[in-house]
């Protein structure tokens, strides 16, 4: 419960302004808390009079012995013959966390025929690879992968488990966290660890990136987090690094599945995952059709990037849904995002505003996209985009 000390409250209204949920109103010179309060605590920090505090009910979880849990783990995601690039990024940040805390870093690699990947994981920073190589793991199935991870975590007790915020990571990890009674933070963009007690400080965007929140799991282990691709930097692979491979036998019962994968379709158009590239060129309503998207595609190719789109372009059928960026599409954070003919409604902005550099090309100088752009070009995209592609090509020569 959020409690207001009416003696201390001066009715200044700072908490009312601070609350992102509209849960506080000042009535008769005193703050009143409504039903929409989520106990996020931002008002408590903002209150200069010290009139607000969060009163917790007795928690039933103070009994976990945190010291029993040690080490940093990374879920190594393997699909269609390759380890997902995000795995190496996670080993990069995991290495830093492990060194700060003075504990080992391990990768857990479930799959079939994945033995050959262990060395690369060690070169990327892992001290230990827990290898689970079984034909039953050839295809991703929620229940089997979930049980294997849960079983290993219960057995080896890592204090932190990191996974990519990919289709697979976001599907399997919540299941594991639920059964372990562990805290899980989705889509972290920043991770730090307090060396003294091992608390993982997990920072993530909330409200589509309009605010950032730092989250902790004070009483539970492991502390679990998913991290978006391209947010963390991988280490330079070091083939001289040494590490240990621990092959784990899994109880056959855990490998039985209720899920049957009948077919796996790799789509030509989707081979480039827009969440994993460094440059995106995106088209919106202003691109006007498939012909316009050909220009977008040419520019993307010139830049070695991929094509993204706004919801308007996807709904018009000019490009398929996996390319959609925004609230009902994907969230991306490339180094460079070039928005062409996209007005920049907040539904789109929330999916791309964490890009390092945003370039907006739009006819309408008042379009909201210019409010979030690093660089803005006011003009006709049908003129600007080909010109930009041409000049970049010339530059390369």
């Amino acid at each position: 419960m959020l409690k207001v000390d009416s003696e201390k409250c001066i009715g200044c209204g700072v908490c009312e302004d601070q609350c992102a949920f509209g849960a506080i109103t000042v009535e008769d010179g005193c703050a009143v808390v409504g039903d929409t309060c989520t106990l996020c605590g931002s008002c408590v920090d903002a209150c200069e009079a010290g009139a607000l505090r969060i009163e917790e009910a007795e928690s039933g979880r103070g009994t976990v012995d945190l010291s029993q849990w040690q080490g940093i783990w990374v879920f190594a995601e393997f699909r269609h013959g390759v380890v997902a690039p995000v795995t190496h990024e996670l080993l990069g940040v995991g290495r830093r966390l492990a060194d700060q805390r003075g504990v080992p870093l391990s990768a857990v690699l479930p799959g079939s025929g994945v033995r050959g990947e262990c060395d690369a994981l060690i070169a990327a920073g892992a001290d230990t690879v827990y290898l689970v190589d079984d034909p039953a793991l050839a295809r991703y199935r929620e229940d089997v992968y979930g049980r294997v991870l849960e079983d290993l975590i219960r057995c080896y007790r890592p204090e932190v488990v990191l996974a990519g915020a990919t289709a697979i990571g976001r599907s399997v990890i919540p299941q594991v966290a639920t059964r372990l009674g562990a805290g899980l933070t989705a889509d972290c963009t920043g991770l730090d660890i307090r060396p003294e007690d091992g608390t993982l400080l997990q920072t993530r965007p909330a409200f589509g990136g309009n605010i950032m929140a730092t989250i902790e799991c004070p009483d539970t282990r492991p502390q679990m987090a998913t991290v978006r691709p391209k947010v963390m930097a991988p280490l330079e692979p070091d083939p001289a690094r040494t590490g240990q491979v621990v092959e784990v036998e899994i109880d056959a019962g855990l490998l039985e599945s209720r899920v049957e994968v009948l077919e796996t379709v790799v789509s030509e158009a989707e081979q480039v995952n827009i969440q994993e590239v460094e440059v995106l060129v995106a088209g919106g309503r202003g691109v006007e059709g498939e012909k316009g998207f050909a220009l977008i595609r040419e520019l993307a190719e010139e830049l070695g990037g991929a094509v993204a789109a706004s919801r308007a372009a996807v709904d018009s059928g000019w490009i398929s849904y996996p390319h959609q960026v925004g609230q009902t599409g994907k969230t991306v954070c490339p180094k460079l995002y070039i928005a062409c003919g996209i007005s920049g409604a907040v539904q789109h902005a929330v999916g791309m505003q964490s890009a390092e550099v945003v370039v907006a090309i739009n006819r309408d100088a008042d379009a909201p996209i210019f409010d979030i752009a690093t660089y803005g070009l006011v003009g006709d995209l049908f003129e600007v985009v080909p010109l930009l592609a041409k000049k970049i090509q010339e530059r390369k020569k």
């Binding site: 039903d35 929409t36 007795e58 229940d143 599907s171 909330a206 081979q271 409010d371 660089y375």
Partner: protein, 259 residues
Amino acid sequence: MELLVCIKQVPDAKDVRLDPKTNTLARDGVESIMNPFDRHALEEAVRIREEQGGTVTALSMGPPQAEEVLREAIACGADRGVLVSDRAFAGADTWATSYTLARAIETLGSFDLILCGKQAIDGDTAQVGPGLASRMNLPYVTCVQKRRQVDDTGIEVERMMDDGYDVVRLPLPALLTVVKDINEPRVPSLKGKMKARKAEIPVLSAADIGAEKECIGLAGSPTRVVNVFSPEPRGDRKIFTGTAEEQVDQLIEHLRDYL
């Protein structure tokens, strides 16, 4: 077929705007809407009922005003709406939320298929669907983009992956989370709206669902938000002027490090 859809009431993003000067959230006049992904889950449930018969129950956890989205769900084809609401649920993270929803569903009866949106647009975690499935020990599939087939024994769907899709078959009962590609939701009919207006929306409290105190609300949440802050504003912003060529030249100059 007994179908249940989980629905969340969320702030309408089009009203949530960032004040570019102060970089804080401007939330004046923010309206609440049905989470867009849940709308697709509801539509799919209604379509399955239309093909197979049965009932569609819409379930929401939230403050008393979340009743509005349940009425809207009825207007869009749900047979009934049930609200789980209690001040004791405040501060629930996804762990406590999946617990609460699971207890509520078990209180309501048994269902052949539970549908959820892929994620809610205010939290974007995509954790409650899989969490709910594991609490109820149901097989599940996330990010379903197409339903191929469903009958009493099982369901065959396409699961969207990062590089294409998988075709997956599950026995029933099961849980699915859906993306917006799965269907085009209908607009409420006049008849549906009238039904929605008259509908009784039962409210279940923590006691009604037999929830254990230490598993709900803030006390039941392993995660704690310890700090909320505004992201750093973008430095060095520039809107170029001049002819298209002049603007492109300036851009290339500024983008040197990225080309």
